[in-house]
């Protein structure tokens, strides 16, 4: 067969959840979850505490069985495959290193239990340790390592056997901010280099945005939106997503009319045009969302503007974060690059611009 006749190669599904539900007694932790994770992608489960992220990972790893539905790994139904035979490894939030073993023995563990010969075992364990730059700590016990170092060892241990899928449950949660940023970059680079599918859990939206190929945003046992980072940020499906991802101004508004591809609303004591037909009837009370960095005081390319009084200024190094109180009492946050211009005075009245394509409407 000539290559031109073949289907364009689509990334294969490596983990699939089909109608998966998980109940603990009367409590439903996961609700009819459908999810496809593709080969080689950096996939993130994002959501607030208690939304079911760990539960999802535990089902994929095989520590728990779904109450309903089916899980497929590499196309195979794993319902009857116990945890130790699944081609996935986990990096636990608390690292779960074996305290009685040295770092090297910890990393060699997945090979030891597969009865791989001593020489090969040690060689591969050393290589995995070198990969996470922990080669010189091989002889130590886990209790003699810092949190960040333990984290690296846990990563090496999970990678040494080259799993199809690596599950990571808030692996950076215990690290301080600087180390966290470093590890984020390293993890991402490592994932690209090794080509292993990562299923990453975090409740930190910034972390999710900066690392992931795709993100599933969860809320009390359900996926609210599954999208790329830019998709989630620029096209949130509802107010919950807009609010969870990044900072958003939520301004109460009322729909006046629908004119073709533009919705006319009343908000902040004035009338504004909003791109898109949002399907709201005239008179509907809605929420109007706009990102702080899309609010501007440059009126050249804006259709809409409203007046506000500067109520607060926060200096964040690269940025200035200004809070305006609008004439109807609503608050609008504007974020501007710190360009060295004079900081406006508190109490000053300014006119703020809102481009119609940056505004989004959500039902209340």
């Amino acid at each position: 067969m000539s290559p031109s006749l073949e289907e364009p190669s689509r990334p294969k599904a490596v983990v699939e959840l089909k109608g998966v539900e998980k109940r603990f007694a009367a409590f439903t932790a996961l609700r009819r979850m459908d999810l496809t994770i593709r080969e080689g992608e950096f996939f993130t489960l994002l959501g607030p505490s208690g939304c079911g992220k760990t539960t999802t990972l535990r089902l994929i790893a095989g520590f728990d069985l779904p109450s309903e539905g089916q899980i497929l790994i590499a196309g195979q139904d794993v319902s009857n495959i116990p945890a130790h035979l699944r081609p996935v490894h986990t990096v636990f939030q608390n690292y779960a290193l074996f305290p009685h073993m040295t770092v090297l023995d910890n990393v060699a563990f997945p090979l030891t239990v597969r009865r791989i010969g001593r020489a090969e075992r040690l060689e591969r364990a050393r290589a995995a340790l070198d990969l996470v730059q922990m080669g010189s700590f091989a002889a130590r016990k886990p209790s003699q390592l810092s949190g960040g170092q333990q984290q690296r060892v846990a990563l090496a241990r999970a990678l040494v056997n080259e799993p199809r899928v690596l599950l990571l449950d808030e692996p950076l949660g215990a690290l301080d901010l600087k180390l966290r940023k470093e590890m984020q970059a390293e993890l991402k680079a490592m994932q690209r280099r090794l080509g292993i599918t990562f299923v990453f859990v975090t409740h930190d939206q910034e972390e999710a945005l900066s690392m992931s190929d795709r993100i599933a945003l969860m809320k009390s046992g359900e996926i609210v939106q599954l999208d790329t980072p830019t998709g989630l940020y620029d096209r949130p499906a509802n107010a919950y997503v807009a609010d969870f991802i990044g900072e958003t101004n939520m301004i109460p508004a009322r729909v006046i009319s629908q004119e073709g591809d533009v919705t006319l609303v009343e908000a902040m004591g004035t009338r504004l045009r909003v791109s898109g037909n949002h399907g709201h009837v005239a008179g509907a009370e809605v929420q109007m969302a706009i990102r702080p960095e899309r609010v501007s005081d440059d009126m050249r390319e804006t259709e809409n503007s409203a007046e506000g009084v500067l109520a607060d200024v926060e200096f964040i190094g690269t940025d200035l974060r200004m809070v305006y109180r609008m004439t109807d009492g609503s608050r609008v946050v504007m974020r501007q690059q710190n360009s060295g211009r004079a900081v406006p005075q508190l109490g000053e009245t300014r006119r703020l611009g809102f481009r119609q394509q940056d505004l989004r409407l959500f039902g209340r």
Partner: protein, 275 residues
């Protein structure tokens, strides 16, 4: 603020501290003085255990050349090691099963293993004796060991249970996740972490057996007189410093074992529990 803050509180605290210090001291004196006296008179030259007549090692020489005592020591050591091994093995397996698995009758098993703790030993002894003669068993090593296992198994189980329940279950999850089957997980992850507790259980079981008198009176037979039984029968013939010397040696042995356990395993246990 505590009720005892301020100047007055300071005074009350001083008094309480002072008193508790004295109480502690007196308690130790009360407990240790008899042993100190016993050991001192083991070196008495005379035949009395109350009147000091001079220093001598002769009673120690008598002890180590007394055939009866040496035989009894041998019996006690064999029974102590054997019963401790059985107790620790059963206790450890049961402890891991109780804390790590759920199976029908789990609570019953836990209660049954702890029961000998609250039953008077003499009742246990009588019951065991009746049962054994009913079953036609001849009193000897086997019956002694069974009796001692009964006495020490609650302690062995409790010690290992405490350690097993403080183990992090996530470590076993991690082992399974990395490809270890149940047996490999037990052997490579669970067991090594329980080792200090298992060792402690063994030492404690052996010590309990070595010191046991009540159970031994019911379960020992001809030719299997244990050391405590031998000492007890020696007492009936009149007390000489030979008994003091024997007692001193037993104290020495017990203290040595205790220090061994504390020195080698206590730091280890503290370390694993901290994680």
């Amino acid at each position: 603020m505590t009720p005892h803050s301020g100047r007055q509180g300071w005074f009350v605290r001083r008094v309480v501290h002072g008193i508790s210090g004295w109480v502690t001291l007196l308690t130790y004196l009360f407990m240790l003085l008899p042993i100190v006296v016993l050991i001192a008179f083991a070196f008495n030259a005379g035949k009395s255990t109350v009147v000091w007549t001079g220093f001598s090692f002769k009673w120690f020489e008598k002890v180590v050349s007394n055939r009866n005592i040496l035989d009894a020591l041998q019996v006690s050591l064999i029974v102590a090691l054997a019963s401790a091994a059985v107790s620790t093995a059963i206790g450890s397996v049961a402890a891991v099963a109780i804390t790590r698995r759920s199976f029908p009758g789990r609570d019953v098993l836990g209660a049954a293993l702890a029961a000998p703790l609250v039953l008077p030993e003499i009742v246990l002894g009588v019951a065991l004796l009746v049962f054994m003669s009913f079953a036609g068993m001849i009193l000897g090593y086997t019956t002694l060991i069974i009796g001692h296992v009964l006495v020490s198994i609650p302690f062995a189980t409790l010690i290992v249970r405490a350690a097993a329940s403080s183990l992090d279950p996530r470590l076993e999850n991690a082992a399974a996740d990395l490809g270890a089957n149940e047996w490999q997980t037990f052997r490579m992850v669970t067991l090594p972490q329980l080792m200090p507790a298992i060792f402690t259980a063994f030492i404690l079981s052996a010590t309990l057996s070595f010191d046991n008198l009540v159970m031994s009176t019911f379960t020992s037979g001809v030719g299997t007189t244990t050391l405590p039984l031998r000492i007890y029968s020696m007492l009936k013939l009149g007390i000489t410093p030979e008994i003091n010397a024997l007692g001193a040696l037993m104290v020495l042995a017990n203290v040595t074992i205790l220090l061994l356990v504390m020195g080698r395993y206590l730091p280890l246990m503290l370390k694993t529990n901290r994680r």
